[in-house]
Symmetry: C2
Subunit: 119 residues, 2 copies
């Protein structure tokens, strides 16, 4: 199964999912599956969020909290649920505010090792 199929399966499994991306921690997107229009430029936002994740990772490591493993950022219009696949890559699902966050979190947890095996 390629990256795209994994991203597609995550989207299919999560109610309210707009898209799922595999991103590099350098802000460059590896692949993306879009299921529905979010009405927000999710892609540009994720690129900017990558810088924020790098800062969060540095803060966590500086305070001996261990490596960053997962994150959620919820705005009035969007919920981004992410999980690190490796120190260099992460998966992120964009949902509507009423989307199933728990299911997204679960599916990313199971999908991350499968994606890692293909990186």
């Amino acid at each position: 199964m390629g990256f795209r199929e994994h991203l597609q399966e995550v989207c299919r499994g999560v109610d309210g999912a707009f898209s799922c991306s595999l991103m590099g921690m350098d802000g460059i997107e590896v692949d993306r599956h879009v299921q529905a229009d979010a009405g927000v430029d999710v892609q540009s936002m994720m690129v900017e969020m990558t810088g924020i994740l790098r800062s969060a990772r540095e803060a966590a490591e500086a305070h001996a909290a261990g490596g960053l493993a997962e994150f959620t950022l919820g705005t009035d219009r969007l919920l981004a649920v992410g999980r690190l696949v490796s120190p260099d890559y992460f998966l992120v699902v964009a949902l509507g505010p009423g989307g199933n966050q728990g299911k997204a979190r679960y599916l990313l947890r199971v999908t991350a090792p499968q994606v890692l095996a293909e990186l």
Copy 2:
């Protein structure tokens, strides 16, 4: 009910909660209830995280995703679940990695307006 009592009630209601804080977006803590030792300097980490949240808020607003409403940051040793009370303040619960994130998220959602009423 004062701030401290609200923080205490959130901690009591969440399995695996270490502490709950009311923080200013300027990184200054208003009040905190500690239920158990996290083995991590949660307080210093939160101060640093505040800067990261401000960046996340700016990114969300810049991309028309609306205001930042809630966030989660999970490391190997800690899960921080937060919700904005107002543009200037947020509540954050620190949990162990196996803590009940869903319950924390729910309790912050109900507690935030109560805390706001007292600010």
